[in-house]
Symmetry: C2
Subunit: 345 residues, 2 copies
């Protein structure tokens, strides 16, 4: 039985992350995780005439690298599952055009990373795919332009704002192989506590992360101690402490050293000018597929829960006075051999 509770999947035949590809921009290349990424671009343009085309190239490169690492030709891929923050998810669509894979576009704002990984895992685990790729991307300048102001405008930001990661991450999921396995996933409900400030999305998203984390434990029967590390997607400096506090108050305390956030990990938040920390679809994607999988590979981590968070607003919904609905999707990734084949812990 895959379904546990209302919205969690526990995979009896845990699909394998066969290989990944991660590409980042210059700021991420100066951050503490730089060595974990496959390709670091020294500039934001990446040889393209528009920011949108630059973002598309990031995604193309991540998918190409993932396939190379998997030693898989692109025609073996049954499905690509992914999306991004751009209107009509054009970065992903145009990148998948050259990949020539059957295409399931998804959207969950910055939670797209784990939404796509959860769906790709289900496809493989259920026998609906032999190989599925999950992927997502973001670019600091496309997002600034679309959601806020043109970068040339040089507008100031409050310290609660976040800095969109430039990058792309892709993962090839298959039925067997040597990589880490995906043992479970919990799909998020939309949470909206009425926050309307698009420069404080961490606070808006914190309740969604908390709801999904608690739902995951309740439905799978797992406890916080089951995991060596639980990371949220991009709650950053304001949202992550809020989530900790809410979990504590709800009777699900997290050990400080075992609860972190991809938006806090990818940058040196004290030294780099990133306000409260990183965000964007690529944030949790490259931290997961680059950094966390390397630590699982080295034996440093055995079980990780990635809880990608997404703020589902549009500039228009904000202009019309709407609050910011948020969602978080969780995926459990585990080392392949520690004596458990994806069984419920």
């Amino acid at each position: 039985m895959i379904l546990q509770g209302r919205r969690s999947w526990v995979f009896e035949q845990p699909p394998v992350i066969i290989a990944t590809g991660t590409v980042v921009g210059p700021d991420e290349g100066q951050g503490p995780l730089a060595a974990d990424f496959d390709l670091v671009h020294p500039d934001l343009e990446i040889g393209q005439p528009t920011w949108e085309k630059s973002e598309k190239v990031l995604m193309e490169q991540a998918t190409d690298i993932a396939l190379q690492h998997a030693k898989l030709s692109k025609d073996k891929l049954n499905f690509f599952v992914g999306g991004d923050l751009m209107n009509q998810i054009i970065s992903t669509t145009f990148a998948v055009r050259q990949l020539e894979a059957p295409y399931l576009g998804v959207f969950g704002a910055c939670s797209t990373s784990m939404e796509s990984l959860a769906v790709a895992s289900l496809l493989v685990s259920s026998g609906a795919a032999d190989y599925a790729m999950a992927g997502t991307c973001s670019h600091n300048c496309t997002v600034e332009k679309q959601f806020r102001y043109p970068t040339e405008y040089g507008s100031q930001k409050p310290p609660t704002a976040q800095y969109t990661v430039t990058g792309a991450g892709a993962a090839v999921i298959g039925r067997s192989g040597n990589g880490p396995v995906i043992t479970a996933a919990t799909i998020g409900k939309i949470m909206d506590l009425g926050i309307k400030d698009p420069f404080n999305m961490g606070a808006a998203m914190a309740p969604a992360a908390v709801d999904t984390i608690q739902g995951h434990f309740q439905e799978t029967g797992r406890e916080p101690g089951y995991y060596d590390l639980i990371v949220t997607g991009d709650l950053a400096g304001v949202g992550h402490p809020l989530a900790s506090e809410m979990l504590q108050r709800n009777g699900v305390p997290m050990e400080r050293t075992k609860f972190n956030d991809c938006g806090l990990m990818i940058f040196d938040v004290e030294k780099q000018k990133v306000q409260a920390g990183g965000s964007g679809c690529a944030c949790s994607a490259v931290v997961t597929y680059g950094h966390l999988l390397k630590r699982i590979g080295s034996g440093d981590l055995k079980r990780v829960l990635v809880v990608a968070t997404g703020a589902l607003l549009s500039p228009l919904s904000y202009q019309q006075g709407e609050s910011i609905p948020c969602v978080a999707h969780a995926v459990a990734i585990e080392a392949a051999n520690p004596g458990q084949g994806g069984a419920n812990g």
Copy 2:
């Protein structure tokens, strides 16, 4: 085995369409299928101060009606799968906020109708959900405003342009029940033959429909004669004849009376001012969930293949000189009892 070929699913345990909800606007209410819809609004405003809020209400109503018809309380729904044409799919997101269901946002432009139905069917068929809802919506004025010009501008259009359907359709999928069943689905690849004119999307989308239809037959072993009716999503007056011609040329001729298009069915294209015919996420959704399911229920049709088509452009990609990548997703819907339990035909 669910997977057949590269990208088709044949469901050994065919999921059931337990109930649907369809809501449309005034133009659709004057079209030939008006009697098949659950709710027809006499105006486009629907009591809301903005077009986007009107579109959200359409989606809320369709999901509410579908649940009522299914006699299902919303907490029994494991997942909502859906999306729309708006930037960041806000219509769906804001509608699902009140539905309080775990949320898998998807995007395939107008193919979202069958993308969401295919994914919801897979969730149920694979045991990943007891009940899943698929849904999508569009509104003529939100789409005109976002993709073209403000409606107040009154810009003229060429006869190849299409008229976005105002409406929303939702379907509750479950493991058993009395409704028609979903026996197969084929996921589309991105097809881009270089067409750049956003006022001729039918022509841009025709190759995607053809590719998916041919892929469906090849992979499932079915033939055109297996179906009583094959409908494309919204190719309309220009794209549909093109698709017919391409299929003929490729050696897969369609009987004229058994090959139609939702964009041609929903309006009286001769009499109503809809240029080449209908389009929009809601077009194939309301025609399928309203009209076609009623005909299956009455015994008039036994096996239908719905091939929803989507043009994956954004205004920005068009402005930057890009062509229009397109996709089409096919779902096979059959009467429950004609002596076959979803087996491969």
